[in-house]
Symmetry: C2
Subunit: 255 residues, 2 copies
């Protein structure tokens, strides 16, 4: 049995609580937050507290708090030589106070309040300074059914950057398509199966192999036609830059 | 029963043949291609031909050929007053020769040779000059289990443009993440669940509502950190442009 204290009450903290609380080999022994209000609805399922001096003993303390707060908060924690992990993609392992045994438990996934997430679809990037602690974090990931990857701080920061490309930037491309289709009275629903299939394709094929379309074919006529159709200059700049990028990847000359 | 002649032998033609051939209410009465070679393996399942003068009678003739060939080929077809449809996103309905009853049957999906596709996930954009023909095309879409949308030529050309954003450009963002992760010895597998979840999220949430991340939060510290991490100047330009785009969408100032 791995005993866990969760610290924080954001989206990730809530999703982690549900996953850890459901796991047979894990016991969430306490849930801390500076204010009790967001934890109130869980008080029958967890020992909640807002008093940092009352932290109970546990195998691992998981900080699910904002990046900027990690360093200072880890310093304030009134515990020593305990395994304290943060859950951030961009904060270094050494940003945790050195009075702790330090580690990282970074779930590479997008969490929203409303959307349920199956932890089987959440890869965990783990890192620890101590070999036994790394082993414990592997056990924790396995207990909630996650694939885990041993990822060091530099790699994790790169993954966090990659996540911005495949999640935030991709979502912005969806948004642009939504704007364009909306303006012409077309339901965004028409595009949803293509969006899903595009993501499915790279589950088995490399993005390089999966690429199709006018930029890859260097189909100048279609590209010119599209540039004429685009009314918004920001949309046009994105079209041009990504078309160039595809051409370069696939050995075509620039626009 | 709707009788169909397929013309062409590319990816889409093959996928259409399989779908139409499996449909109870459809009969593929002939499959034409300029060269017989790509059709040889289907000769036991379809009447194949490379002789345009031998086209048989059918309810609908589906041109699954390249955009540039549609206009000229429709002119050469030795039939009159028959429903001839093309399958292109960017070619106008009036580019078909006016001796035909004209229509469009545009499947908005990405087709690859190897990947099986369930036609339930293929929305069909239909257009026809004649009301009865439109009705026939609806029946054809329904027969292969597709959702269909009545979309005019201008809308269809805009959808084709949108498809470039959500398919080709999105896939290029995956490619960039692949390049960045590869360079640091990180398996691209770590990113796959996030890619899929990002696409799943907008099946029920608007891209606007689904957005998260440093650009939306205007988290200057993280954006600065990322820009320092990016080694490739093309990747950096894309990061900056899409970050600005997200900021604009969500009412933040420019970088």
């Amino acid at each position: 049995m791995i005993s866990v204290v969760i610290l924080g009450a954001g989206n990730l903290a809530v999703h982690l609580f549900e996953a850890l609380n459901n796991a047979d080999q894990v016991s969430v022994v306490q849930w801390f937050n500076r204010t009790l209000n967001p934890l109130e609805s869980y008080k029958n399922r967890a020992a909640i507290t807002n008093d940092i001096s009352k932290l109970v003993d546990a195998d691992v303390y998981i900080l699910a708090i904002s990046d900027d707060a990690i360093s200072g908060f880890s310093e304030q924690l009134p515990i020593h030589d305990k395994l304290v992990v943060h859950t951030s993609g961009s904060v270094g392992i050494h940003d945790l106070d050195k009075k702790h045994r330090r580690g990282v438990f970074y779930p590479l996934q997008t969490f929203s309040k409303d959307a349920e997430i199956d932890f089987k679809d959440v890869p965990i990037c783990i890192e620890a300074l101590d070999k036994n602690d790394l082993h414990l974090l592997k056990g924790l990931a396995e207990a909630i059914g996650c694939a885990y990857y041993k990822i060091n701080t530099e790699q994790r920061q790169m993954l966090h950057l990659c996540a911005v490309y495949v999640n935030n930037f991709t979502n912005q491309l969806y948004r642009i398509a939504h704007e364009i289709s909306d303006a012409k009275g077309i339901s965004f629903d028409v595009l949803k199966p293509l969006i899903l299939e595009t993501a499915k394709k790279v589950q088995t094929l490399s993005p390089y192999m999966a690429q199709t379309g006018p930029a890859k074919r260097n189909d100048k006529k279609t590209i010119k036609k599209h540039l004429k159709l685009i009314e918004n200059k920001d949309h046009k700049a994105i079209y041009e830059l990504l078309t160039d990028s595809i051409k370069k990847t696939h050995g075509r000359q620039k626009l």
